[in-house]
Each structure stands twice: as structure tokens, then as C-alpha cells.
């Protein structure tokens, strides 16, 4: 199903932002919040994995229901998970489309990667 990826700050993301190697950060930054009706249409329940795909790549997240998220939107806390699939195009402004990236969402059984694994996928090395 087609969705719009929206990102933003959350308190749990902010309180763990200086601990990006922690399980807490992985949990809060890799949660994909969806409208419960969209979750029903996707055939998934709270905690099931979803795979988000864009022309920039794909990422696996854990789905979470959120009444406040409108139909057709997936909300993810700002961070390396959302940024793994957001285009680096800035349309001449310096600012990527952090709140309006079009994504395909589908259920998956794949695991959620750690921040270290995401950085190693682009040539980094975990400390």
C-alpha cells in the first residue's frame, strides 16, 4: 500500500537521542505509527514488522497503532531509520523531504536492524 512518510520528534526519541546504540533508542526510532484502519487493511497487528520501500532503499520497522495518525500516513521519529529511505534531494533549498516521502508499506517477517548495522551498511564501523 502507498503511504506518506512523516517524521518528527517524540519525547522517548529525545530522551534516548544521546544513546543511539541502546535498545531503547532502537525501539523508539524504529517504530512506525499507523492508523489502526490501515493496519487492519495491511493485515497486521501491534508489534508486527513492516517493510517500507522508496527509490532510496528499504527499511524494516515495528508497527504501532496511533489514532492520531491519519489514514495513508506512517509516522516515524526522526532518526537513522526514517533517513535510511528518505531521498537526499532538496529541491534547491537544502532541506530534504523529511515529511512528505512517498513509501510502499507491506508486512514482513524480517528483523529490525540496529543503528550500528544501518551505519555499517553505508561503510561505517560500530565503536
Amino acid at each position: 500500500m502507498k503511504f506518506v512518510l512523516n517524521t518528527g520528534r517524540t519525547v522517548p526519541q529525545g530522551t534516548s537521542v544521546e544513546h543511539k546504540g541502546s535498545d531503547t533508542y532502537r525501539t523508539v526510532a524504529s517504530a512506525g505509527f499507523l492508523n489502526p484502519i490501515d493496519m487492519m487493511l495491511l493485515g497486521i497487528e501491534d508489534g508486527d514488522r513492516i517493510r517500507l520501500t522508496t527509490p532510496a532503499g528499504h527499511i524494516v520497522l515495528t508497527s504501532r497503532p496511533a489514532e492520531g495518525v491519519v489514514r495513508g500516513e506512517v509516522f516515524v521519529a526522526i532518526g537513522p531509520y526514517a533517513n535510511h529511505i528518505i531521498s537526499s534531494e532538496t529541491h534547491g533549498t537544502g532541506m530534504p523531504d523529511f515529511k512528505s516521502q512517498s513509501v510502499d508499506v507491506e508486512p514482513t517477517g524480517e528483523p529490525v536492524k540496529s543503528v550500528g548495522e544501518l551505519m555499517e551498511a553505508i561503510g561505517g564501523l560500530r565503536f
Binding site: 519525547v11 544521546e18 543511539k20 532510496a56 495518525v69 537544502g94 530534504p96 544501518l118
Partner: protein
């Protein structure tokens, strides 16, 4: 020992009423702060010593060695990028600008991926703003547009708006009308008097509709604009026009969505329209503690607030070309110095990936995602915890960050001065 009136350096609110209790050189209690402040002071885990990446892992190196190698990398680069700066004090930011000028680098700060578009709009049409003190004491209508202070600036509402008792607004909760405009029904929307839920990418259209209604042209507005009913738009325009003092705060919901800086320009022009009827102001909710300071320091020293390119020997500014994401996306820079920020986590993957291909040096108190992409990471003090310095609140008021404890780390301004010394044959900035 209890230290009073401590400033929290986490977000642009720079709340300056914290009480921090220390015991044996450790922080043991934080009072008055939000959850973000408590985590900032209480869970402050640092990188113990400078590290360098090897073929197979990481090795500890001395500060002297790390500083020398950093200077050599920057000296040998054709197109260095100096990025970050928003979580440290102005003293470090100013040395960064000196280094950029000396070596002909591009220097950019984190506003490039937060309120950079707001600055572009302000450069086009100006900034009718005011201090948060004015809002607290006078504003009877508050609009939060595309922002969620409950999550991102948790004390903004209690210190300055919804719940703050003001001189001319003694019964804040009864006398202030709070309007929230967002695509999501956020926790902030939950406590609004009026919630305006707009469709994705509809901000520009809704702002234009409000401008038309304020101008007396409601007849041209269709029944719905980006999912918002005409009745609600007319009601909101009326609340704004009849306010004694209105304040719009906007966030990344405007700067990052379709239209980007044109959304902000439209919001500022709505504020302009409203000033024909009453007093209205508009200001961005700034994210990082001292991101506003990085714009101030860059502007004093170079004439430009971010994305400054010294390659020509003079300051050149062209967002979209000299902005960090674009330079990394194009694979243009051949070395990077990252100070007090984490582009590894906060930039799109294609831009962050270039940092791993070039020699990248991180100067930051904490291990972060960019550490994994770097060649050298040099730990330093954290401004507002174990280093004093100047930071700018989101309304442009400079506030002195306090040094609460000493953890034995060098100040990042001192590290940067030593790098400058190496680059300039021992002559400091």
C-alpha cells in the same frame, strides 16, 4: 550541593530555572526540568578518550595526536565541510568560522535541516517576532502550526503560553485561546481550543485561504481547503482578528513539507495581514539548544546564517548548493569536521554515506551514529553541563550556560583553537 537557575541546553527553550543537585562531582537530581532535561543531565554517558578507526576496529589515541591528525586532514583537503555547531556554545562556533575562513571550507549548521527554510523566508519578507516574555505577558491567542511542543519543547506551554500566567493574562487557561494546526492529531492538538486538521501538503493553501478571509474575500474560498471547512477557517480568522495580541509558533511541519520556505513566507504574510487589525507576531520553535546561536554567530562573522562557503576566499551563500546535504549528496567534500551534531542519524542515507568515504572527524561528548562513519572521534565537554558559554534562546535572547560539574574533558572551543593553531603555524584566531 544544589545549583539554582541552571540552564538546560537541550532544546531552544533554554529553560533557565532548573535546580541541579550534585554530589561528589556527579549530578544526582534534576528539578523543574522536563523529561528531556532530566535525561540530558542524568544519563550523560561520554566517550572516555579520543579514538581512531583502524583496519579492524578502534584504538585509543591522545588528544595531541587526534588534534594534529585532524589539522593535517583539514589542511590537505580541497573541499572540507565543517558541519554541526548547534549543541555547543557560541565560543566554539566562532572558532569554527575562523577555521572555515582560514582553510577555505564550507561551514554549515543544523538549521540547514530544521529552520533553514524559515530563514530563507525571513530573508524575503522579514520577521515580525518578539521575545517569549512578550508572548507570556500579552498574548491571548496562540497558534501552534506544524509543531508539537508537548513532545519537542515540553515546557513551552507552561512557561510561555497555554498555562503561563502573564501580566496582562492573569488567568491563562481561561483567557488564552490555543489553536493547533497539524496533519496529525498530536498530544498538543488534544489540549487545543481549536484543532485544524489539514491534509498533507495543504499548509500553503490553508494559509492563503486565511489571508483571503482576513482581507474580506471569504466569498472566493471553496467549501473545503486541504480538508479544512470554510466555516472553521472563517471562525479562526475571526478569533485572530479580534485578538488583543496573537502569536504564531511554527515548526518543521511547515519547513519540511511541500512548499518549504514558501509555506513560511505565506505564514509571515498572514501575520502581516493580521497586523492591519491587531498585534500579531510569528516565530519558529527552534530545536537544538543553541541552533539560533549558530545563526547569530555565523551572521556576525560572515554575513550569512548557515551554508557559508569560503572556497572563493570570501563568504558565499547559496542554499541548495552550499548546504551540507547537497554537498554530501554530490560527493563534493573530501574531508568533514562534525561538531556537536549527528548527521549520520539525521541526514538521508545517501548524504550520510559520503561521510564514511572521506576522512571525517567528530568532536562531540557522546558516541553517536556519526562515530561509526568517522575516522577520528574526539570527546569534549558538553555545553551547559561541564562547560560554560553563550547560547541563544529560540527568540534570540542570549543566555549564559552554566558549568555545573567538572568531568575532566577539554572544552570543544579549546580543541578547535588548537586545531586552528596547527593550521596557522601557532598563531591563534
Amino acid at each position: 550541593m544544589i545549583e539554582h537557575d541552571v540552564v538546560c541546553p537541550f532544546c531552544g527553550c533554554l529553560c533557565d530555572d532548573l535546580e541541579i543537585e550534585t554530589e561528589g562531582g556527579r549530578i544526582v537530581k534534576v528539578q523543574n526540568g522536563c523529561a528531556l532535561a532530566e535525561s540530558t543531565f542524568m544519563n550523560d554517558v561520554r566517550l572516555p578518550a579520543p579514538i581512531r578507526r583502524t583496519e579492524t576496529g578502534w584504538e585509543d589515541i591522545s588528544y595531541q595526536e587526534a588534534i594534529k591528525e585532524t589539522a593535517e586532514i583539514l589542511q590537505g583537503a580541497d573541499r572540507p565541510l565543517l558541519y554541526g555547531w548547534s549543541s555547543t556554545h557560541g565560543e566554539a562556533q566562532s572558532v569554527g568560522v575562523h577555521i572555515a575562513e582560514l582553510i577555505g571550507a564550507v561551514i554549515d549548521n543544523t538549521s540547514t535541516v530544521c529552520h533553514g527554510p524559515s530563514i530563507l523566508a525571513i530573508q524575503e519578507v522579514g520577521h515580525p517576532g518578539c521575545t517569549l516574555g512578550q508572548v507570556k505577558n500579552r498574548a491571548d491567542v496562540i497558534i501552534y502550526w506544524g509543531c508539537n511542543p508537548v513532545e519537542a519543547h515540553p515546557r513551552h506551554m507552561s512557561r510561555y503560553t497555554t498555562y503561563a500566567t502573564g501580566f496582562f493574562v492573569p488567568d491563562a487557561q481561561r483567557e488564552r485561546t490555543v489553536i493547533v494546526v497539524d496533519t496529525r492529531r498530536t498530544d498538543t492538538a488534544g489540549i487545543a481550543d481549536e484543532f485544524v486538521q489539514i491534509e498533507h501538503g495543504g499548509d500553503y493553501a490553508v494559509l492563503s485561504a486565511l489571508r483571503a478571509i482576513v482581507r474580506g474575500k471569504a466569498s472566493v474560498i471553496p467549501a473545503k481547503v486541504a480538508g479544512v471547512s470554510k466555516e472553521q477557517l472563517i471562525r479562526i480568522a475571526e478569533i485572530c482578528k479580534t485578538a488583543k495580541f496573537g502569536a504564531i509558533f511554527f515548526g518543521l511541519g511547515l519547513t519540511m513539507s511541500r512548499g518549504k520556505y514558501k509555506n513560511i513566507r505565506n505564514a509571515i504574510e498572514l501575520t502581516d495581514e493580521l497586523n492591519r487589525y491587531t498585534k500579531f507576531v510569528i516565530s519558529p520553535l527552534r530545536g537544538h539548544g543553541n541552533v539560533y546561536g549558530s545563526n547569530e554567530v555565523f551572521t556576525w562573522m560572515t554575513g550569512y546564517p548557515f551554508a557559508v562557503d569560503f572556497a572563493r576566499g570570501i563568504a558565499f551563500y547559496n542554499p541548495g548548493e552550499t548546504t551540507a546535504v547537497d554537498i554530501l549528496r554530490r560527493g563534493e567534500c573530501d574531508a568533514a569536521l562534525i561538531v556537536a551534531s549527528d548527521p549520520g542519524a539525521n541526514f538521508p542515507r545517501a548524504a550520510a554515506a559520503h561521510l564514511a568515504k572521506i576522512p571525517t572527524i567528530v568532536i562531540d561528548p557522546h558516541v553517536n551514529a556519526t562515530t561509526a562513519l568517522s575516522r577520528i572521534h574526539i570527546p569534549c565537554t558538553a555545553a551547559g553541563i561541564d562547560a560554560a558559554g553563550t547560547a541563544y534562546r529560540m527568540d534570540g535572547v542570549p543566555i549564559r550556560l552554566k558549568k555545573v560539574i567538572d568531568r575532566g574533558y577539554p572544552d570543544d572551543a579549546e580543541i578547535l583553537k588548537k586545531i586552528y593553531d596547527h593550521l596557522n603555524g601557532g598563531k591563534g584566531p
